[in-house]
Amino acid sequence: MKRQLIAITAICFALLLPASAWAHAFLDHADPKVGSVIASSPDEIKIWFTQEIEPDFSSIEVRDSRGNEVDKQDTHKDSSDKKLLIVSVPKLADGQYTVTWKVVSTDTHHTHGDFSFTVKSQS
């Protein structure tokens, strides 16, 4: 009986595995890094996700410590990497910034999150 249970379990896995491409898109890594302190303003905020995303239904916002949106509102995908979402920013003054992202993965699942980074020039 135990062997039968093992066999049933193995068959279940075999049936499920081919569909493993479906999944939520979570943040994999970002540039600037989550929680980092950087010495100069970036030109862009880049976020790599764990799954391919639908750029038309995805966004990145960057706000300063007063809550004002400072990004150029031009969220766009990378032409060669479907897991990468980008937004441009002007030259950022010293201070802490909050990045809020909302994405829809290609399997239509919604996810969202936020993180901060700090610009602190040497001068």
Partner: protein, 302 residues
């Protein structure tokens, strides 16, 4: 992408924009993902499938009592029926062996669960749910299951600590889930029980994605160390006042399509057992694998 799949995606994305929580079938509150736990139930009324859940434990021989060993092969399936309301069914195939005796096999009684998410607060990553757990008399194999039913009204909760100030940034990945229930058996021989349990989790994915990227490599960055406490205290009959339970330290590993969990099972006292066991568990994200079928309530919209 074939046209049919593309059309489906467009329709569902559009629906998702109108109903922003439509496709958040996993256990999310705000930015927090609460993973399914093994020894205690999480507070979410969503589509979930645990297959299999394997627990092994035993007692060495003592005072003339032979050594015993039990292995349980279990499953759990939950389906959201109405928005924030789900029903579930679970069972275990039990294998009991006693040294010098033939092994005993059979199904435990079927357990049905109804759960409703009463309240949640996204900024504070908090959720409270209420449910009823029913163990159905004689629905299992006679030699390993009870001949009476048990009803247990239960309250569930979850709280993430992502709202803590940045001065204690490294506590923000912490989260707690738990359940408090009272069981009422239909047999006059069995005791009422206060059943209580909680899980303390430290989410490395939350640390990496929301707090600070400390450069953890895979698969470490996808793991959630956890300690679960699952306890029950008899309230009447001959065993009134006596407690059984386990403490389960382990880890939950998130993959794109399932969660793999492994925990030690440590008895809290001699009445529970005297040997450390283990449990392994696979939670399959059926809303990811079959998004056309799962991830939605059958009736109504989230």
């Amino acid at each position: 992408m074939p046209l049919g799949k593309k059309a489906f995606a467009a329709i569902v994305i559009a629906a998702g924009l109108v109903f922003p929580h439509l496709l958040l079938a996993h256990g999310f509150v705000g930015d927090r993902f609460f993973p399914p736990t093994i020894a205690t139930d999480d507070p979410f009324a969503v589509d979930e499938l645990s297959l299999p859940s394997i627990t092994a434990f035993g007692d060495p021989s003592s005072d003339g009592v032979p050594a015993t060993r039990e292995v349980d092969w279990g499953f759990e399936f939950d389906k959201e029926i109405l928005p924030h309301f789900a029903i579930g069914v679970s069972d275990d195939f039990i294998s009991q062996s006693e040294r010098g005796q033939p092994s005993t096999y059979g199904w435990d009684n079927i357990e049905l669960t109804a759960k409703y998410e009463l309240w949640h607060n996204d900024p504070h990553e908090a959720i409270v749910s209420a449910g009823l757990i029913a163990d159905i008399a004689s629905s299992g194999t006679e030699n390993v299951s009870d001949s009476f039913s048990t009803l247990a009204p239960t309250v569930y909760f979850g709280k993430g600590f992502g709202d803590l100030p940045e001065t204690v940034n490294f506590l923000r990945p912490l989260a707690v889930t738990g359940e408090l229930g009272e069981s009422f058996p239909t047999s006059s021989d069995a005791a009422n029980q206060f059943q209580y349990g909680f899980a303390i989790e430290y989410s490395l994915p939350y640390l990496q994605e929301e707090v600070k990227d400390i450069g953890l490599p895979s698969p470490l960055k996808d793991m959630i160390p956890v300690v679960e406490f699952a306890l029950a205290t008899d309230e009447n009959r001959a065993t009134g006042g006596l407690t059984t339970g386990t403490i389960n330290p382990g880890v939950l590993w998130q993959t794109p399509w399932c969660e793999l969990g492994a925990e030690a099972v440590i008895p809290v006292n001699g009445r529970t057992g005297s040997r450390v066991g283990f449990t392994v568990d696979v939670w399959i994200y059926i809303d990811d694998l079959f998004p056309k079928v799962f991830g939605y309530p059958i009736f109504g919209k989230d």
